[in-house]
Symmetry: C2
Subunit: 194 residues, 2 copies
């Protein structure tokens, strides 16, 4: 097990409905030292790529993307989930449906911050059905930017998102892929990775 | 001028309706090196305080709070603006009205992550009317935690939020206090600080 898998086993909680709670260290209360280690790991995995910007989506994605952008020494851009009156002018827009919240959101990024010269590393904390990631990819493609790769902290391997994105030919790296969870015993089965 | 004031003059844009756009470096696209410097500056200003957790509110607050939590070596907790089905059990709740978005939000933090032993530094990117900060203070008080201070990147000094919070006796440090903005000339007047 890698450092993130070990932490999930230690502090993650399996709940009914295939819910994995990691809110004590990843997406409500955050262990910054762990996140810094996640940043270093993504830098290692995408060291062969020339990245110009890290793209993520609010809110918890920001805390994963921050140390990644820091490692690459590039700006962080986060997509917003609703139109703000402080965002004006032309925007890239994609509509995504949240698996967690069961609602549709418009995901937006200002056109001033993504363009054809950008080589993007897309980062998020969770990948389940992949709707948020698909929205970010759509926005990147709309901008004419190059998606160099996608980095996820925790992928639910028993849901379809990861397969879809890999099938489209994108390089997707998930630090922990959960293939099964047992709500009775709390046991979590990770996919073996190189 | 300090480093943040200089950056606001360089890249901030004054818009009608007392809007200061800093979305190219602070709250949409983010300059991680600048944010790291903000983290170091808050560590310097609150060096006399024993901080156990940094508390902020999604979304852009997370990117300011991250380097602050990193400097203090403590966890980051961010309040969420709407009830998520992944958050269960008892929560601290405060209702806040957004000046920017003109709507009311319930701000929530799980009771598992704040308690009477906590000494909090509350961080956010913007302070205008202060509703979000008041919500965070309410949550901290509900938890029985001690609010050691509040750190803001940009305060709109011509709006009421900062005065209210200081009047309540809280120690509020804003790295840049904008006392006036001229939409015709783009000129920004900062309050002199020690």
């Amino acid at each position: 097990m890698n450092f993130l898998e070990e932490r999930i086993v230690k502090d993650g909680i399996v709940k009914p409905g295939n819910v994995l709670k990691v809110d004590s260290f990843l997406n409500h209360q955050m262990d910054v030292a762990l996140l810094d280690e996640i940043g270093r790991e993504f830098k290692r995995r995408f060291a062969d790529k020339k990245i110009t910007k890290v793209l993520t989506i609010e809110a918890s994605g920001i805390a994963i993307a921050y140390p990644v952008a820091r490692e690459f020494g590039v700006p962080l851009v986060f997509a917003k989930k609703s139109k703000s009156i402080n965002i004006e002018g032309e925007m890239y827009v994609a509509e995504v449906e949240s698996f967690t919240h069961k609602n549709k959101n418009k995901v937006i990024v200002s056109k001033r911050f993504l363009g054809p010269d950008d080589h993007l590393l897309i980062i998020d904390d969770f990948l389940a059905n992949g709707c948020a990631l698909q929205g970010l990819i759509t926005i990147a493609e709309s901008a004419g930017a190059t998606v160099e790769g996608l980095g996820i902290a925790i992928e639910k391997g028993f849901q379809i998102g990861g397969r879809v994105i890999r099938n489209f030919g994108y390089r997707l790296e998930s630090l922990a892929i959960v293939d099964a969870m047992d709500v009775e015993t709390g046991e979590i089965t990770f996919r073996a990775q190189d």
